[in-house]
Amino acid sequence: MTESGTGSRVRLLIGKVGLDGHDRGAKIIARALRDAGFEVVYTGLHQTPEMVVTTAIQEDVDAIGLSVLSGAHNTLLPRVVNLLRDRGAPDIAVFGGGIIPAEDVSPLREAGVSALFTPGTSTQEVVDWVRTHVRPRRA
């Protein structure tokens, strides 16, 4: 179910944070979520955490999905979570995907990343997770 009782659809920002340009996965996730009925804002590449948070607030999204395959996830993902909190939008969920070694998953979850989707994940898993865990923030 992609709508709340008031009829507003869940809005998502999907993008790539950092210098990593491998966007095959991010594009597939963006398209799968759009095809599943969510509203998707796709930022494209080379977003800084600051740019992601600014766009997320401007676009009034309910959750942010970020792809990182460069190994910089431990720096970049928590920074996004912290910036959202500092800018008064701690209720925007952050989920991530990419090359995230198993041992980094728990620390990232503790740092406030809601979910991490690693290689081998199907698009259905991501869609189901968003459906279950993300609600529209707007009243």
Partner: protein, 557 residues
């Protein structure tokens, strides 16, 4: 409907279908289809002589002769095996130098450098955007000092080096030349390659800085410079690997790569260069993915198409201009994080395909590369994979062992025809730069990758260990970790280099680069001078960015 008159063999396919195939299918139907390649190219039950056009021998040719379907050399691996060239780089230049020595000591025959993301994007290790990224995807190189460390103990006159670097290729190439100078190796002796293939960056790898036209100008400057001063150097590695990794089909990989090649040849000619001078130094780089025969067909078709493009479209007279020389890397995107030891099997099949496809140079991925950059143990197995193929399997004993196979020749013809259709489409759009500006290759790739994802999500395409044959738990695999100290140390080293050099020389050098960028004179001598004075990657790229501007992508998904 008549039975054959005797118990002898069928005299035609129709007879075979009627008398042998039909009854067999009635008893034991085939597995559920479709029987298609990983790229969804349909594959027939059987191929025989009637699947090949009459007079096809001219298309096939002999090895070392136009159109080179069977190989660019008459003796191929009987004279010299492909170069075993493992793409390597992580952490600091000292870390990577150690890996280079390890691989050379284990029998690798060429070097290949992987740079970190800040370096690939033309940024220094202390750039704001470099935070968290230094040394993670490759080696951090900021100045000539790092490059000297990178090749410490490695005489550059005795080994060929490939450097995977695109937008800042001119700078890293200049650094390599400066190291050679310091070693006393004449530039004319240097052998190697810079990837320097900006067109595929816009299409797939996305490591751009400047817009297309100034980027092509830098490339033609490098072509002209090398023709004069570094004649054995491959100025571009025109790449399909990344296009395939981004999700294209095999045919798209081939078509977009060769279309890029056509674009570079046109750019060289428009820059006033003699095609027979620069074309022999263009090289190529293909992916080797899972579907064994599709990859072999792709590589054979590549040679044939390129030979015709160079001789008949561009009227090159030098046979060296017609010969497509290529490096291959096994498909990173085919590897799984689940049951990672299965990746050794995948890489073996993919490497074998590349050898049977006639590659000049080969990188085999390591089993742990879905998880991290390779450990020593993992990369040794990858290198041994090549050595087992070379020394134990027997496939290098004869030239083009699969030549004449009905299936392989039919598939080669099919891949060629399909790729030519796409190249024709791109020509009709006005060439590859126009096609890129219209977003055409990117959209094709996004669609192909989405289709494949749907196929795997639905279980129509099997990925062993992921959507079938799963295991509850995987054996732990020790992975390579890049500690944060790498970034801290690299920034300190960079600060030391900045402190120890002549600021006046740097200012002069960067001004000279900006001037050449504006007035069109060759950039390379000025970049070479700047790196000798220990200007940084970021400083030199910044000087050019100020003149050329920055590329902005319109993201499509």
């Amino acid at each position: 409907m008549s039975r054959k008159g005797s118990d002898g063999p069928s005299r035609s396919r129709k007879e075979w279908e009627l008398n042998t195939l039909g009854p067999s299918l009635a008893k034991a139907p085939e597995r559920q289809g479709p029987f298609s390649t990983v790229s969804s190219l349909p594959i027939e039950r059987l191929y025989s002589a009637e699947d090949l056009p009459a007079g096809g021998e001219a298309d096939l040719g002999l090895p070392g002769e136009f159109p080179y379907t069977r190989g660019i050399h008459p003796t191929m691996y009987r004279t010299r095996l492909w170069t075993m060239r493992q793409f390597s780089g992580f952490g600091s230049a000292a870390d990577t130098n150690k890996r280079f020595h390890y691989l050379l000591s284990h029998g690798q025959t060429g070097l290949s450098v992987a740079f970190d993301l800040p370096t690939l994007m033309g940024r220094d290790s202390d750039d704001l955007l470099a935070e968290g990224e230094v040394g993670r995807e490759g080696v951090a190189i900021d100045t000539l000092a790092d490059m000297e460390t990178l090749f410490s103990g490695i005489p550059l006159g005795g080994v060929s080096t490939s450097m995977t670097i695109n937008s800042p290729a001119s700078i890293l190439f200049a650094m390599y030349l400066a190291v050679a100078e310091k070693q006393g190796v004449p530039l004319e002796r240097l052998e190697g390659t810079i990837q320097n293939d900006i067109l595929k960056e816009y299409i797939a790898q996305k490591e751009w800085i400047y817009p297309p036209r100034p980027s092509l100008r830098i490339i033609t400057d490098i072509m002209a410079f090398c023709a004069r001063s570094v004649p054995k150097w491959n100025t571009i590695s025109i790449s399909g690997y990344h296009i395939r990794e981004a999700g294209s089909t095999a045919v798209q990989e081939l078509a977009f790569t060769l279309a890029d090649g056509i674009g570079y040849v046109q750019a060289g000619i428009e820059a006033g260069l003699d095609v027979d001078v620069f074309a022999p130094r263009l090289s190529f780089f293909f992916n080797s993915h899972n579907d064994f025969f599709e990859e072999i067909a792709k590589m054979r078709a590549a040679r044939r198409i390129w030979a015709r493009v160079m001789r008949d479209r561009f009227h090159a007279k030098n046979p060296a201009s017609w010969k497509l020389r290529f490096h291959t890397q096994t498909a990173g995107c085919s590897l799984t994080a689940q049951q990672p030891y299965n990746n050794v099997v995948r890489v073996t099949i993919q490497a074998l395909a590349a050898v049977l496809g006639g590659t000049q140079s080969l990188h085999t991925n390591s089993l742990d590369e879905t998880l991290a950059l390779p450990t020593e143990d993992a990369v040794r197995i990858a290198l041994r994979t090549q050595q087992v193929i070379a020394e134990e399997s027997g496939v290098a004993n004869t030239v083009d062992p699969l030549g004449g196979s009905y299936f392989v020749e039919a598939l080669t013809n099919k891949v060629e025809a399909d790729a030519m259709a796409i190249i024709g489409k791109i020509d009709a759009m006005g060439g590859i730069v126009a096609a890129i500006e219209q977003g055409f290759p990117m959209k094709e790739i996004a669609d192909a990758s989405y289709l494949y994802q749907q196929q795997t999500d639905r279980g129509e395409k099997c990925i062993v260990g992921v959507n079938r044959y799963r295991a509850d738990a995987d054996p732990p695999v020790e992975i390579l970790k890049i500690p944060l100290e790498v970034e801290i140390e690299q920034k300190r080293r960079l600060a030391d280099v900045r402190a120890g050099r002549s600021a006046a020389a740097i200012d002069r050098d960067l001004d000279a680069i900006a001037k050449a960028a504006k007035d069109g004179s060759n950039l390379m001598p000025h970049i070479l001078q700047a790196v000798r004075d220990y200007a940084t990657v970021g400083e030199i790229c910044g000087a050019m960015k100020a003149v050329f501007g920055e590329y902005r992508e319109v993201a499509v998904f």
